[in-house]
Amino acid sequence: MNERATSQGTLTYREAVRAAIREALQRDPHTFLMGEDVGRYGGCYAVSKGLLDEFGPERIRDTPLSESGFVGAGIGAAMGGMRPIVEVMTCNFSLLCLDQIMNNAATIRHMSGGQFSVPLVIRMATGAGRQLAAQHSHSLEGWYAHIPGIRIVAPATLEDARGMLSTALEDPDPVLIFENVMLYNMSGSMDATAGAVDIDRAAVRRSGRDVSVITYGGSLWKSLEAAAALAKSGIDVEVIDLRTLRPLDDATIMQSVRKTKRAVIVDEGWRSGSISAEITTRIVEQAFWSLDAPIARVCTEEVPIPYPKHLEDAALPSPQKIEAAVHQVLGR
């Protein structure tokens, strides 16, 4: 991972996450980071680089390749009084610990009649775009949002990359944070004092009158790019960053759709059963009569991600596809 040179005051998404982890470890002695190669290697996406020297191997804990083992250990550690941040390198490997997530982390509070909560934060990288092919390019955050008992967040901005982790560490229940691999090198300037952010509400990243583009994570930037292009042709797009995929902030979504009467939903999951379907359905359930046109969605094609750039690009959402969808729902 080459870090983009970052001038004074500016930093990358990667550095924002690192700053949040460092702050958390400084703030609370019960917090620790555990995962594959988080220590000596510095993190598969270099997020935890340098933290081992600062906090030592107990708190920046390299684990064996045992996803189910160390995620389950994170659940136990959380119930035992610690405040673990477990890094599952990427969501592609999280299938190996899904039993622990769905059958333990998400259910223990309920099964125990409310006696035991699981204050666990799990971070994982998600998304395609790096030509890593079929087994390393999944976008599963929307799929995980089906599971009751956990919270799913997907930071798209530097402020959220840094702030959501702090907020997640205040949550008494399991929070899964999905960091899009294409954002790690994104850089910008951020208020040095930035800290915890509210994660209950979606954010209107660009307000507009003609159509609501509802998205999150890596697709936010593609959507904003499309919105900018559409503005040139006089189409005023509102762009909503969901931020939290479970629970969804219906209020912000409906408020926008009631205003624009049209919606396009963009996410990087495979089309069938992606979270865009859930959002579409909620709009139909809650704002059907304000719709002036069918809702459109821009998702990933239903194919394991191919290695070649041109095919990978063709499989993923793009500003062009988003523009086309907007034109479609506007009928112009």
């Binding site: 019960h30 189910s68 083992g69 389950g72 959380a78 409310g114 229940d173």
Partner: protein
């Protein structure tokens, strides 16, 4: 620290009668449960521990109040022996809100915070990583507590067994793995599921201290448990204790037991841990007929009280259905 300094069980008359009482409490409780199941007072899956009582009974005296326990769906005995009130366990079997898990869990999910009883896990192998995690929390907080994890020999084939034992040995975690080897996983005999049928040898391959003990002999189990807990509490790393035992009843209430012969079951019943220990107490003159009668009378009464308690218990209102999926946030 409340850990027993001496690792040998003292077979005083009092302690002996307590061991016998605990085994009898489990036996009579579960016999009643089987009866209640046919009356449909208890529903779902019901896995009886009958025949294996010496294990939970012999193990618990070696623990301190702060130690953590993780068990399986066959955990009534462990909960009772640990000190979860029989009323709370029976009410849980009924699904009443006076149950240990407020009725949400039922037979397979007994949880109890006061006694550090972390369930009641019904995914085979799913409890091992959690127990390792609890031990990790104790170690990182420099607490003297030990985590104890009960599971059947069938779990030894699961990947989580492998990952958890490696983590525990690698990190020298204060956890005791108690394998209740009753020779069958549902209808699958040990030799049909394991290339190495000598379970405690598996632990050695992780460089973990381990031993095998007669699980039908409560005194042998207690002695081994004290060795194990003492070893672990003294920071020497995890300990694997294989208890060789046998399930007298069907796997669950839906089991025709086509996979084993009546003779085999009868032979094992000759080694009934309750009868065996009782006979020994009698012949060695530690206990007399009157003691047995009193015990039976008291235990029968306690079981009857627990049934009355459960019967008198109340159903949680349907309005509370969504309760305990998430932890209520402190109003901020």
């Amino acid at each position: 620290m409340s850990a027993p300094s001496d690792v040998k069980p003292h077979l005083t008359r009092e302690h002996s009668l307590n061991l016998l009482r605990e085994m009898l409490r489990i036996r009579r409780f579960e016999e009643k449960c089987a009866e209640l199941y046919t009356q449909e007072k208890i529903r779902g899956f019901l896995h009886l521990y009958i025949g294996e009582e010496a294990i939970a009974t012999g193990l618990m005296p070696a623990l301190s109040a702060e130690d953590a326990i993780v068990a399986t769906y066959r955990e009534h005995g462990h909960a009772l022996a640990r000190g979860v009130s029989m009323n709370a366990v029976m009410a849980e079997m009924y699904g009443k809100q006076e149950g240990s898990s407020r009725g949400r869990g039922g037979s397979m999910h007994i949880f109890d915070a006061p006694t550090r009883f972390y369930g009641g896990n019904a995914i085979v192998g799913g409890g091992l990583p959690v127990a390792a995690g609890l031990a990790l929390a104790f170690k990182m907080q420099k607490l003297p507590h030990v985590a104890v994890c009960f599971f059947g020999e069938g779990a030894a084939a699961e990947g989580e067994f492998h990952e958890s034992l490696n983590l525990a040995a690698l990190w020298r975690l204060p956890v005791v793995f108690v394998c209740e080897n009753n020779l069958y996983a549902m209808g699958t005999a040990l030799q049909i599921s394991e290339s190495e049928t000598d379970i405690h040898l598996k632990a050695k391959s992780y460089r973990m201290e381990s031993e095998s003990v007669d699980g039908m002999d409560v005194v042998a189990v207690e002695a081994a448990a004290r060795r194990a807990v003492d070893f672990v509490r003294n920071g020497k790393g995890p300990y694997f204790l294989e208890c060789r035992t046998y399930r007298f009843r069907a796997h669950s209430m839906f089991d025709a037991q086509l996979y084993r012969s009546k003779d085999e079951v009868e032979t094992w019943k000759q080694r009934d841990p309750i009868k065996r220990f009782g006979d020994w107490l009698r012949t060695s003159g530690i206990a007399h007929e009157v003691d047995f009668e009193t015990l039976e009378r008291e235990v029968t009464a306690e079981v009857a009280r627990s049934v009355a308690f459960a019967e008198a218990g109340t159903w949680e209102p349907i309005a509370d259905l969504a309760r305990d999926v998430y932890t209520p946030r402190a109003a901020s």
